[in-house]
């Protein structure tokens, strides 16, 4: 994991240096005289050898210092503060969406698996897999558009985005739903198939031979094994929530890192871009690691090794 973070750190630095020959001119403005550009360059440390620059960059990042935003060059707005303001919004959105994914996909998948075991209810199987894969293959920003058209515009039930006078819990419903919906069905599909697999296992026959009540059979014998398998196959959806969040935020003007990142790209504010890429990339790595840990926790076979 440390190695991956290091790759990410070097990657962001190199990529930005590769594509931006002279950030100082960008900061100072296209019409600035050469003297001012040189002054800005010195101020930004851009006249030093590249490895010194990288050392400074890496050192700053490790101490939570991402430099200053170019947005208002002389105000020296620290990027760390920009991140500090936007990160909680993104975290809240992704967190609520993750919660929704877990809370809905597991019961939907498990129940539909149990309903369709041994080829029962074939029509339901057809409708479920067809509908689920259609919803799952629509990207989150389209779901966001459709949801806001229906619930905010036609039905006028929920607000589009976070305005100053809409309560956060109300404003978060649409973006979080848009973000979670696809992944709910991706996971529910996986869980349904895994439920069928687990139900065909020998140990389920053993459990049945003990004449256990249905809830014990399904919750104790089926569910843990289903979750292990489903997480192995579908654990990547949690990291993909981050990607969805970046885009969905822009649909709803959600004041998080995704919206910030896009506006930073549009004006070429690359200390902010660098920091956003670094933080979001780290979030992906953290989530993937958390999924691996959860997997180890769920599967006793990996614990003792």
């Amino acid at each position: 994991m440390i190695a991956v973070l290091a790759v990410l750190l070097v990657g962001t630095f190199v990529m930005v240096r590769l594509f931006h020959a002279d950030p100082a001119r960008q900061v100072a403005g296209p019409e600035a005289d050469p003297q001012l550009v040189a002054q800005v360059r010195a101020e930004l440390g851009l006249n030093q050898p590249i490895w010194v620059q990288f050392a400074q960059y890496a050192d700053g990042v490790l101490h939570g210092d991402f430099g200053s935003s170019y947005e208002a060059p002389f105000a020296k707005l620290p990027v760390a503060r920009v991140i500090g303001e936007t990160f909680p919004w993104t975290a809240a959105l992704a967190g609520v969406a993750t919660l929704m994914v877990v809370l809905f996909s597991v019961p939907i998948g498990l129940v539909s698996g149990i309903l369709t075991r041994d080829n029962r209810h074939r029509r339901f199987t057809l409708v479920f897999t067809g509908g689920a894969s259609a919803i799952a293959s629509i990207p989150a920003f389209l779901l966001a558009t459709f949801l806001s058209a229906v619930f905010a515009v036609w039905l006028a039930l929920l607000p589009v985005g976070a305005g100053p006078d809409t309560p956060v819990w109300e404003a978060i419903i649409l973006p979080a739903t848009a973000l979670a919906l696809g992944d709910i069905f991706i996971l529910a599909r996986i869980i349904r198939v895994e439920t069928l697999n687990v139900l065909a296992q020998d140990y389920i026959r053993t459990a049945r031979s003990k004449r256990l009540p249905a809830h014990v059979l399904y919750l104790r014998h089926v569910l843990p094994n289903v979750l292990t398998a489903a997480l192995t196959l579908g654990g990547s959806v949690f990291a993909s929530l981050i990607a969805g969040a970046v885009i969905v935020e822009n649909v709803f003007d959600w004041p998080g890192m995704g919206t910030k990142l896009v506006s930073a790209i549009l004006v070429g504010d690359y200390p902010v871009i660098q920091a956003c890429v670094l933080i979001l990339g780290t979030a992906v790595i953290v989530i993937n690691t958390a999924v691996d840990l959860a997997l180890g926790f769920l599967d006793p076979r990996t614990l003792n090794r």
Partner: protein, 647 residues
């Protein structure tokens, strides 16, 4: 040379035809294909036909609602929304295709390079590809366009192309590696053909088809990735427009003209979903085996079988004592096969007295396991069970919901074949041992723990207190089977059904497990039905042996009769002669039962064994024999030859 090449091409052509037929057979694939073709047609003719209304400014007619003139209304500048969406098809679709092509140009060489590299480089390269893949596709697209930070069509295209590359690198790598080990590649290498040539002449052509489909599968992602960038304002810039950009404009105006947002959204979704399904359908058609791993359809037991008969008249179970733990009379189990119900267990009749050990032997697929499952009420959902009588401890178990479960819970213990797969890997031994008694008999948790420990002692498991906290994978195979036996004993059942209890266990442990079963039979006075393909094992501990063939009992013989060589049915004798013994010379080949085990869907008329029987006479292929007492022997056999010999 030229003829073999022609033949190769012919084979190739027929393989293509086969792929095409398989593709046509999948409705979603065909529907997706139709949608995709329509989109391509729109991309070609759209700008020519609707180019003008799409760009014609008419500020006095901005934000109009749908009308006959403007089916989806107009945008703020008065341009026709429908026309704009249709015209945008060319750019969106074209960029999707171009993005996938860039991914191919970058990804495929990387995949091949990693596949043919030395072992260390291959390892590192594979890891890097996986690392790259562990980041969500759309996030990588945004990241890449962020670091380029040049807003515009070309940098968006670059981002989309580069983001898709690792997927193709991974696929190429997997395909090339899998094909690299095949004989003809090894043969080419042995013939001295160098690496690059092997690659071009042998590896690439063989993975080309699968690669094309992978590239196509990426088009959907590319379209969506590119549209996302345009939607975020960092892709296509005005005055050019694609779906993503139209969507942004629509969303900004969503309260006035919601259709302006919906229409491009629907198009992106349709293109993404259609190319996704199309790619899936093509891949499916190309390699059905790879993609239809029909998991989750496995049956507990899948004998194959047939010949439909009504239960035969009762001829047994009448003269037995009232102390019968199990009564099975005319048990028939039917499974659906080729659209009809085929009996895989046919009119099986027998009883088990208290304290008796009865063996059931036969080849795999003879219906032994299905008989056991029917007796214990565990047949698969699709099976139908019928019988004149089916009683456990004199309670009928033919039907009845909760009441029947109680009868089973109290009176029956089951031991299955493979203790590794038959124990739940995710639960502690203690949980699995205790839950039966706990939930179905309502015994308190303290008492049930004591009982579990006591049962583990009884089956000679060391340190039982520790075992309760362990998981199945922490125990040895023999230990696991002992746990299974302890589990079957938890509710002090009067009958234990052991289905091949020793077949998947180390040979050195088998004898111990058999001895343990005998010990339990003596100490607990529990009856046992022992199911096995091993007639020697069964005859060593059973008092009676039932020989099954094609779902029927073909001979019922006492263990003593069996030992004395009194088996009357030719099939029983064949099973006996298939047992290796020390008296036979090692140079002599082992005797197998000749012929194939029966195909239930196509049983021959008359005696189902007649095709394999060395003694068969005319009558055997005409009439079906019933079990018939062979008076000079301690046996009853369903065999015309044996019966005629007696009379």
């Amino acid at each position: 040379m030229s003829t073999s090449k022609a033949r190769l091409e012919e084979n190739h052509a027929s393989a293509l035809a086969q792929t095409w037929r398989a593709f046509i057979a999948s409705p979603t694939g065909v529907a997706a294909g139709v949608v995709f073709v329509i989109l391509v047609a729109l991309a070609i003719v759209g700008p020519i036909v609707w180019g003008d209304p799409a760009t014609h400014l008419d500020i006095f007619n901005g934000r109009r609602s749908p009308s006959w003139q403007h089916l989806l209304g107009t945008d703020p500048a008065g341009r026709d929304i429908l026309a704009r969406v249709v015209v945008a098809t060319r750019l969106s679709l074209g960029m999707g295709l171009a993005g996938a092509m860039i991914s191919a140009v970058i990804g495929i060489p990387i995949g091949i390079a990693v596949a043919v590299a030395g072992p260390r480089l291959r390892d590192v390269g594979g890891r890097l590809i996986d690392l790259w893949l562990s980041f969500p596709y759309l996030l990588v697209v945004i990241f890449l366009s962020a670091v380029v930070a040049n807003v515009g069509t070309l940098s968006a295209l670059f981002a989309v192309g580069l983001a898709g590359a690792p997927r193709l690198a991974r696929v190429t790598n997997t395909l090339a590696t899998s094909i690299g080990g095949r004989e003809y590649i090894l043969a080419a290498s042995a013939a001295g053909i160098g690496g690059p040539r092997v690659l071009l002449r042998h590896v690439l052509p063989n993975i080309a088809e699968a690669l094309c489909i992978s590239v196509f599968g990426l088009v959907g992602s590319s379209i969506i990735g590119f549209s996302s960038l345009s939607f975020l304002g960092i892709g296509v810039q005005p005055p050019a427009f694609d779906w993503g950009q139209l969507l942004t404009l629509g969303v900004q105006d969503i309260y006035a003209t919601p259709l302006a947002a919906m229409a491009p959204g629907v198009m992106i979704a349709a293109a993404g979903v259609a190319s996704g399904y199309l790619g899936e359908g093509l891949a499916h058609a190309l390699n059905p085996l790879l993609w239809t791993a029909s998991r989750g359809q496995a049956r507990a037991d899948s004998p194959t079988l047939a010949g439909f008969r009504d239960p035969v008249p009762d001829y047994s179970a009448t003269d037995r004592s009232a102390e019968e733990v199990l009564v099975v009379d005319g048990l028939t189990v039917r499974l659906p096969m080729d659209g009809r119900l085929v009996p895989v267990v046919d009119s099986v009749t027998f009883g088990v007295a208290r304290g008796e050990i009865v063996g059931i032997v036969g080849e795999s697929g003879s219906g032994k396991t299905m008989t056991a499952l029917a007796i214990s009420g565990l047949v698969p959902f699709t099976a139908t069970v019928s019988a004149r009588r089916l009683e456990l401890n004199r309670h009928s178990t033919l039907s009845g919901g909760r009441e029947r479960e109680r009868i089973f819970a109290a009176g029956l213990g089951m031991i299955f074949q493979d203790p590794m797969s038959s124990l739940n890997p995710a639960l502690r031994i203690g949980t699995q041992l205790k839950e039966g008694a706990r939930h179905s008999r309502g015994i308190g948790s303290g008492a049930v723990t004591d009982r579990a420990i006591q049962r583990l002692r009884e089956v000679h498991v060391s340190v039982p207190e520790l075992r309760l906290r362990q998981y199945p994978h922490e125990l040895s195979g023999g230990m696991r089977q002992r746990v299974m036996i302890a589990m079957a004993l938890m509710n002090e059942p009067s009958l234990i059904i052991a289905d091949e209890p020793t077949s998947s266990i180390d040979v050195t442990i088998q004898a111990q497990i058999v001895a343990l079963l005998e010990e339990i039979n003596r100490s607990r006075h529990a009856s046992i039905v022992l199911i096995s393909h091993d007639i020697a094992l069964v005859s060593s501990i059973c008092s009676r042996v039932l020989v099954m063939y094609a779902g029927r009992i073909v001979e019922e013989i006492s263990a003593r009769g069996l030992a004395a060589g009194e088996a009357a049915h030719p099939y029983t004798r064949m099973l006996l002669s298939a047992v290796p013994d020390l008296s036979r010379s090692r140079e002599e080949p082992l005797v197998n039962v000749p012929g194939q085990s029966p195909d239930f869907a196509n049983l021959p008329a008359g005696c189902p064994f007649n095709k394999r029987c060395p003694l068969a006479v005319d009558k055997c292929s005409r009439d079906r024999p019933e079990l018939f007492p062979i008076r000079t022997f301690n046996t009853r056999a369903a065999c015309w030859v044996a019966q005629d010999a007696v009379q």
